[in-house]
């Protein structure tokens, strides 16, 4: 045995097992201590970097108008309609109770909808009141009725005719239909707007106040969703005739965290205590080895998460996949080490010598494969999505730790544990040898067949569609997903688009020209098939114009066009007016003022109009759309604005738009990252294999599996979200490992043993074929466990990675060897030289 540094290192480890174990444990404790800094972040905004342009636009809109973070109760009476007295009572009760939800700033429902109307007795007495107060206020001018003071008795006392009138009012109000009630009056919603504390609120705070605020920020979503859940069950208890579903941004945030936590609680144990021990035992048939390996896997996971804590990384949904991924990655290291070790003992070596020999043989390959894997995961830093970067870096830490523990803690532990060696020879090698014969014999057929099959599958890549629909981040076992789908089908879309249209002039929105443009846009938007509802200030103004003109039906129009119908006749009283538009603008502004003056708390128009009345916000509810459709619609809207409102400052954004953009940008940046990683890894291979030709050739088995996997995905699934964009970088590091093992054995046969190409291929199959097969099975199983996640971003990532790795093995076995054996005297010469 040559006395190089690796051997010295190996001898040191096995002769000081307790010292090594103690040092390892210290390292684990030190890194794991960082876990106390881990915070679970529930805000969907974590998916966006601070300088993300759509996020900035969205925050600006949010800061200028009211925040639109919401929790929505969707209520369906099992029998009867929304306008049954019992249902109205329930909606009224919930609307009032919703004010008790932490951070509530606004509650919208049909019962507190603020109507404006006049009575025939006095056309100049404008009445403003909640829907349920309309009968009372109409009959009594001194009524003090407000939504909060409506009693159950009052609702019971409503006559059928009065209820019919209320229903008519609601169903004729564009602000309500398809937003908080469907046209059939069979589904309605209570929408709660909340103002959650966020990280920017920490500015200027210190010490205890900072800590308290921080805790408040981290627990806000949970507090809100718990309260919402409580109200949901209370409501059903009060009125068992109701089905109550929950959706909205807050519920989504909560679901991100809950699903991630559940994954960690269910998938990680499956991985650690079922899949990995079984797979390990099957491969190495040693209880001690299995136990030691599981320990280092647990160490690596703890260290990775602790390291994440030290790095200031927060727990987000993708981070919850870290334990499964690290566990899977860590297995391979210990397998290689233990298999050689046990083989040595089987061949009669002493425990110590067998381990030193194993370290000598495996140190370089394990190091090389670990470093390529780390490079692969570090490519995630090219991602636009901070949580994916975090995940890549955390796994990289875990893989590094797994490497360190595999060559220190594992050998040391094996020295202390009893090791029994079974004499049974594995049958696997016989299969592998016959398989090698088959590949060598049929190489002339295999090459074209494999090439054609690969190309055929790769051709299906375009069938994939980029899609980041955040509702579909959760599978159908998750309430949020089911409830949101129901809402989209029956009431209104959770996907929205906000447009802020700013004239940059105080009171500019009251210009008749602006109002007309706004109305045109609303009409254009409503014509788009993807649009379910458009909320715009024009609807408010039309209603006001009607009320200010004695509630005459024909005056339900914007002030200027209504002149033709004889509305606002006073403006034309003095015959021709020089600047009619100025008069109309003033009139419109004064209508806004009178309306503003009459609205109760939480029902103001700040959510639609900014404070100097220079700009307005339009809220468009969309069907469940794919990212491509969202981007397409966004394009159409911006073209419309460019053509019809060139002078306006338009800013459009929303969570749906943000996710649509990031999905796309992320794919491009990840492809760039993968390309860089390929270059880096190929250089590494050229250097390690000391062959330019083989280094270049290795590109084929390294790239083709990804392409084929995405082709298969296109054939069977076809939706690519941001979770999948990282698969290329991630699998690259793993796929390369197989190539490295196969090619290095092939080269050793050619160079050291002077075998011809066919014999060298057979040698490679004989030596690493079984190991590659087995580690691939472990990896595929591991990622399939991740595929069980209810969090679709993680489960798709797991499944596509599993496919990629399986394909990689097939390519390495069926395509790479025929390529190596292909004609190429040159190659032989070069290698021989």
């Amino acid at each position: 045995m040559p006395e190089n540094n690796t051997v010295k290192f190996g001898r040191f480890v096995i002769s000081h097992p307790w010292l090594v174990i103690l040092a390892s444990i210290l390292l684990v404790v030190a890194t794991t201590y960082g876990a106390r800094f881990l915070e679970i972040k529930t805000d969907y905004r974590v998916f966006f970097a601070e300088d993300n342009p759509q996020l900035i636009a969205f925050e600006n809109i949010q800061n200028t108008y009211d925040k639109a973070d919401n929790a929505m109760f969707v209520i369906t009476p099992k029998e009867g309609s929304v306008f049954d007295r019992e249902t109205l009572k329930s909606i009224h009760w919930l609307t009032e109770q919703a004010w008790q939800i932490p951070y509530t700033t606004r509650v919208d429902s049909i019962t507190n909808y603020q109507h404006t109307w006049v009575t025939p007795e006095d056309e100049d007495y404008m009445l403003v009141g909640a829907l349920l107060c309309i009968p009372d206020k109409s009959s009594n001018f001194d009524s003090e009725c407000e939504h909060e003071s409506v009693s159950e008795q009052m609702i019971d006392d409503l006559s059928d005719a009065e209820i019919k009138r209320l229903q008519d009012i609601v169903l004729h109000e564009p602000q309500l239909v398809n937003r908080v009630i469907n046209p059939d009056s069979s589904v309605t919603a209570v929408n709660v707007t909340v103002q959650l504390p966020q990280d920017p609120d920490l500015e200027g705070l210190e010490g205890k106040a900072w800590k308290e605020k921080k805790t408040e920020i981290l627990t806000a979503v949970t507090k809100v969703s718990e309260h919402v859940g409580k109200l949901q069950s209370e409501l059903i208890e009060r009125n068992p005739n109701l089905e109550v579903r929950l959706t909205g941004v807050v519920m989504m945030n909560n679901t991100f965290a809950e699903t991630g936590k559940n994954d960690m609680m269910t998938l990680t144990p499956i991985m650690l205590f079922l899949v990995i021990p079984l797979a390990l035992y099957f491969m190495i048939r040693s209880t001690s080895g299995t136990v030691a390996s599981v320990i280092i896997i647990i160490f690596s996971i703890m260290g990775a998460l602790g390291g994440a804590g030290w790095l200031g990384i927060a727990m987000t949904a993708p981070m919850f996949s870290v334990p499964t991924v690290v566990a899977t990655m860590a297995v391979a290291d210990s397998v290689h080490l233990l298999v050689t070790f046990l083989q040595g003992m089987r061949h009669g070596m002493s425990k110590q010598d067998a381990m030193v020999e194993s370290i000598r043989i495996n140190m370089m390959p394990i190091f090389l494969t670990s470093i390529t894997t780390v490079i692969g995961f570090l490519t995630m830093n090219f991602s636009e999505v901070p949580p994916l970067r975090d995940m890549g870096n955390t796994v990289a830490v875990g893989v590094t730790l797994a490497f360190i523990f595999s060559v220190t803690f594992l050998p040391a532990m094996m020295m202390l544990l009893p090791v029994k060696v079974s004499d049974k020879k594995s049958k696997g090698h016989h299969w592998m040898d016959s398989f090698a014969d088959f590949v060598v014999n049929k190489r002339k057929v295999l090459l074209p067949v494999m090439a054609v099959i690969s190309i055929a599958i790769i051709a299906a890549i375009p069938k994939n569609e980029l899609n980041d629909e955040f509702v579909k981040y959760f599978d159908e076992s998750i309430d949020f997903r089911v409830d949101s789908d129901y809402t989209a089908e029956n009431l209104t879309g959770l996907y929205t688009a906000f447009y802020s249209i700013d004239t940059k002039t105080g009171s500019g929105i009251h210009e008749p020209e602006f109002m007309a443009m706004l109305k045109d846009f609303v009409e254009y938007a409503e014509q788009q098939p993807e649009v379910l509802h458009v909320q715009s200030y024009t609807d408010v103004m039309k209603r006001l114009n009607k009320s200010m003109n004695g509630d005459r039906e024909e005056c339900y129009a914007l002030p200027k066009p209504s002149l033709d119908k004889g509305c606002n006749a006073v403006l034309l009283e003095d015959g021709e007016v020089a600047d009619l538009d100025t008069l109309i603008r003033e009139l419109t502004a004064q209508y806004t003022l009178i309306y503003e003056t009459s609205l109760p708390r939480g029902m103001d128009i700040n959510n639609q109009v900014n404070s100097d009345k220079s700009g307005t916000r339009i809220q468009i509810a969309l069907e469940n759309l794919s990212s491509v459709q969202v981007l397409n619609l966004e394009d159409r809207f911006s073209q419309w604005f460019e053509k019809n409102a060139p002078a306006m400052e338009i800013s459009g954004s929303s969570p749906a738009i943000m996710f649509a953009h990031i999905g796309q940008n992320n794919i491009y940046s990840m492809l760039k990252g993968t390309a860089w990683a390929l270059v880096l890894i190929s250089l590494l291979l050229i250097f390690a294999l000391r062959s330019l030709k083989l280094g270049m050739l290795s590109l084929i088995p390294n790239i083709v599996p990804m392409a084929v996997a995405f082709g298969i995905w296109g054939l069977f699934q076809g939706q690519i979200g941001m979770g999948l964009s990282v698969v290329t970088g991630m699998t690259l590091g793993i796929v390369v490992d197989d190539t490295v093992h196969f090619l290095s054995k092939y080269l050793r046969a050619r160079r050291e043993k002077g075998l011809d190409k066919e014999a060298a291929v057979k040698y490679a199959f004989h030596t690493v074929g079984m190991a590659l097969t087995v580690t691939t099975i472990v990896l595929v199983l591991g990622f399939l466990v991740l595929g069980m996640s209810h969090y679709v971003m993680n489960s798709h990532m797991g499944i596509l990675t599993a496919i990629t790795l399986a394909v990689a093995l097939i390519i390495d076995f069926l395509l790479l060897p025929p390529l190596l054996m292909l004609g190429g005297k040159k190659l032989k010469d070069k290698v021989a030289n």
Binding site: W99, Q100, G506, L571, L593, P600, D612, K613
Partner: protein
């Protein structure tokens, strides 16, 4: 003269109560402070002033409103007020007349110059924002002792002055608050700070008043009022200018027909 004398007596009584009272409950003490504050602000007759309102959203954008405000003291009921808009331009001349009442709805009329008409508006709502600001209508209407239940909480110090801290729970219908907490200075019984709490008892807003000036040797007026909504991050500043008392306003300046000529 009689009024002044009686309020003086009351003041003496109140001060002596705060120092010597033993058997007095916090509720009684709170009520006494409120009564004293009201007493010290009674008898001013009529006034007018210019109000500048600066609205700020969370993004830091500002909007300005200028309103001329006339007030008439009404004995035994809420005051009468007439606000005439000067800015923003499009609502110039819009006039807002209110008769506030201790019980029941306030009466409100709005004159829209573009429409040349006076519109009466139903106003059971008191909790809504006034002209889109962070001030609710109820924050700006006249203070009447009967509108709240009181509870003295503690003595405190604010900006170097000794304060009473009094909790006030609205007794009128349709308030947007579960309670407010007021800091009232012990020397002049002026309100320096009010914290507003929403229905779920979370802090909603904080109002700070400063730049006090005394008129007619008796009546203190804050010339700066800063209201911050701690839940939304929005804020509103009111700056008062050109306060004048005893300008000779009468009932006739506060009726529907006066609205049209208000500007």
């Amino acid at each position: 003269m009689k009024r002044i004398l009686s309020s003086l007596l009351l003041a003496v009584a109140a001060v002596s109560m705060t120092t010597t009272a033993v058997a007095e409950t916090p509720e009684e003490k709170g009520l006494a402070i409120a009564k004293e504050a009201k007493a010290r602000n009674t008898g001013w007759g009529d006034s007018q002033a210019d109000m500048t309102m600066i609205l700020r959203d969370k993004g830091g954008n500002e909007a300005e409103r200028i309103v001329k405000v006339k007030s008439l003291e009404v004995k035994g009921d809420g005051d009468k007020g007439l606000s005439v808009f000067e800015q923003p331009r499009d609502v110039e001349g819009t006039a807002f007349l209110t008769y506030s009442h201790i019980e029941g709805n306030d009466d409100q009329w709005l004159f829209l110059p573009a429409l040349k008409r006076v519109k009466r508006i139903s106003s059971s709502n008191k909790s809504g924002p006034w002209m889109g600001s962070e001030f609710a209508y109820e924050d700006l209407s006249s203070f009447e002792v009967e509108k709240y239940d009181y509870k003295f909480l503690r003595d405190d110090e604010l900006n170097g002055e000794k304060m009473f801290v009094v909790e006030m729970v609205p007794t009128y219908n349709n308030s947007g608050y579960s309670k407010t907490i007021a800091w009232i200075d012990q020397e002049h019984y002026r309100v320096h700070r009010i914290e507003f709490f929403d229905q779920k008892n979370d802090k909603l807003k904080e109002l700070n008043m400063s730049e006090f000036k005394q008129y007619l040797d008796k009546y203190w007026r804050a010339h700066r009022q800063e209201m911050e909504n701690v839940q939304t991050g929005k804020s509103t500043t009111i700056i008062w200018k050109d306060y004048e008392f005893n300008v000779g306003l009468t009932e006739d300046d506060f009726n529907k027909s006066s609205l049209k000529r208000a500007r």
